[in-house]
C-alpha cells in the first residue's frame, strides 16, 4: 500500500471523525496560536474553525517572514536595486511588499534590475552569467530557509564567483513567540511550525513550554494534521500536561536536520537585535553573516549608502495587531477595501502566507 499524501490527509471522512472526537473531549475554552502562515492557510482553506467547538479558537501568529519584514530592510533592498550595475535577487513574495517609498516591483518598473527567484541557487547562476554586475541575494525567511542561504554561500565560495553578495534577513521562531507571550497575549497553546521544525527539531520548543506553561504541538500542514494537533492540545489540558509534542512525526525528529544546522552555524550568528514589523525590536531574533565572511556582506559593503531611519507603519494598517494575535483581518477598516492583494497596504496582504491574504482568499466560506 502506498500513501496518497494529498487525498489521504485531506479525506473528508477522516476530517469529520477527528472533528467529532475533539467535540466529544473538549472541556474548556482554548486559544490556539498557529505560528506558521502555512497553517493559517490550511485552517482557512478547509474551514477548520467551523469544525471545532466554539470555545476553541485559532489566533494567527507571526510566522510569515514576508509579513514581519520591516520597511527599513525593504528600503535597503530598493536602494541596492537602484544602484548602478547591481542586480537584486530575492524569493518571489518579497517583490511586492511595500517599503516606505514603494516596492521592489515598482523599482523594477522604473528600470532597476530586480529578479524573483524560485530557489536561492539561481542567484549564483545569475552572478556567473553577469560577471560585470554585482548580484545581491536579499535573503529572507525563518529556520526553514536559512540553510538554503547557507548552502548558497558554500557553493559561491567553492565556485570562486566574486560578484555575488548577501543581504541577510533571516529570523528565528522562538524569540517572537516569547515576545508575544511576554507582552500579555491571551494564548493558551500553540500549533508549532512544520518545516521550521524539520530543520530545528522539536526539542527547541521545550523551554517555551516550561516558561509559559503552554502546550506546543508541532503540526503537519494537512487538515488532518491540524485537527489531530488540536486533539493533542485538548488532551494535554484534560490530563493536566504541558508538553512539547510532535504530531508531524513522519517528518520531524527531536534533533532535526543536523547537517542544515551545522551549515547555519558555520556562516551565521545572532544579531544583537532585529526589528519586526508590528512587534518592534526583539533581541537575538535575527541572524547576520559572521565577520569572517564580511567580503560577502552587502550590508557592510554598502553600509554608507543604505538608509537607516526607523519608519512607522501605514496608519490604517493593523498588521501589528494581527501579528500579535489581537485582531483578525476582518477587524481592519481597510481590509478588502483600500487594502487588497492587488494594492496591499501591509505585508500580511502581500504574502501568500499572510493572514490577510488567507482571509481575502477564503473568507467567503465563513
Amino acid at each position: 500500500m502506498s500513501i496518497d499524501y494529498l487525498s489521504d490527509y485531506r479525506d473528508p471522512k477522516l476530517i469529520a471523525a477527528l472533528s467529532a472526537q475533539i467535540k466529544s473531549e473538549a472541556t474548556r475554552a482554548i486559544n490556539i496560536m498557529e505560528i506558521c502562515g502555512g497553517h493559517t492557510h490550511t485552517i482557512m482553506k478547509y474551514g477548520l474553525p467551523q469544525l471545532l467547538p466554539p470555545e476553541i479558537k485559532f489566533i494567527h501568529g507571526p510566522g510569515c517572514p514576508v509579513c514581519v519584514m520591516p520597511k527599513e530592510r525593504l528600503d535597503h533592498a530598493i536602494a541596492i536595486a537602484n544602484m548602478k550595475d547591481t542586480i537584486l535577487t530575492t524569493l518571489g513574495d518579497m517583490i511586492r511588499v511595500p517599503g516606505s517609498r514603494g516596492s521592489l516591483q515598482e523599482a523594477r518598473a522604473k528600470g532597476a534590475d530586480v529578479r524573483a527567484l524560485y530557489s536561492p541557487l539561481e542567484a549564483l547562476k545569475i552572478a556567473a552569467e553577469n560577471p560585470d554586475k554585482t548580484v545581491v541575494f536579499f535573503a529572507i525567511g525563518f529556520e526553514t530557509t536559512t540553510p538554503m542561504s547557507a548552502a548558497l554561500i558554500e557553493r559561491t565560495i567553492a565556485s570562486g564567483v566574486k560578484n555575488l553578495l548577501f543581504h541577510i534577513n533571516h529570523i528565528l521562531v522562538p524569540p517572537p513567540v516569547c515576545a508575544i507571550m511576554d507582552s500579555g497575549g491571551e494564548i493558551d497553546a500553540f500549533l508549532g511550525p512544520s518545516h521550521v521544525s524539520v530543520i530545528t527539531g522539536s526539542d527547541i520548543f521545550a523551554p517555551i513550554v516550561d516558561r509559559y506553561q503552554t502546550p506546543i504541538v508541532i503540526s503537519g500542514f494537512e487538515p488532518i494534521d491540524a485537527l489531530e494537533s488540536v486533539l493533542m492540545i485538548v488532551r494535554q489540558f484534560n490530563e493536566g500536561r504541558r508538553e512539547a509534542e510532535n504530531q508531524y512525526s513522519r517528518a520531524v525528529t527531536p534533533k532535526g536536520n543536523e547537517r542544515a544546522k551545522a551549515l547555519i552555524d558555520r556562516y551565521f550568528e545572532p544579531r544583537e537585535t532585529f526589528r519586526w514589523r508590528g512587534l518592534g525590536d526583539i533581541p537575538k531574533s535575527g541572524l547576520k553573516l559572521r565577520d569572517s565572511y564580511a567580503s560577502l556582506d552587502a550590508e557592510k559593503i554598502y553600509a554608507e549608502k543604505l538608509p537607516n531611519d526607523p519608519i512607522d507603519d501605514h496608519k490604517l494598517c493593523i498588521c501589528a495587531e494581527i501579528l500579535k494575535g489581537r485582531a483578525k483581518p476582518t477587524d481592519c477598516k481597510v481590509f478588502a477595501k483600500a487594502c487588497s492583494p492587488a494594492s496591499p497596504l501591509g505585508s500580511c496582504m502581500v504574502s501568500s502566507e499572510g493572514a490577510c491574504a488567507a482571509y481575502y482568499r477564503y473568507a467567503q466560506t465563513l
Binding site: 499524501y5 490527509y9 477522516l14 467529532a20 502555512g38 530557489s119 526553514t144 517528518a251
Partner: protein, 93 residues
Amino acid sequence: MCLSIPSKVIEIDEANNALVDTMGVKRKVSLDLAGEPVALGDYVLIHVGFAMGKIDEKDALESLAIFKEIAEKMQSGEIDERDGDLGLVDRLS
C-alpha cells in the same frame, strides 16, 4: 513559500541533485541539505529548490490507519459524537 507536498525521488545524479516527482510534475532539486541519505523511491520535502527532509512512510501509514479506523466506526454507527476513547490513545501516548 513554506508549503511542501512530499515528492518522490526518481533519479539522483553525480552532482548531488535529485529529479523528483511532485503530483506528476518533475523537477530537479539539490540534496546538499538532506539530513540523511536519500535513495530512489524515497519521499522528500522540498523547499525553494532543496530537499530538506525525508518522510517516514511507515509513520505516515500507521497514523492514517488509525484515522481510517475511527472514520469506519463512525460510518457504521458504532459511536456517536459523545462517545469517548476511539483508540487514539496508543498513537498519542
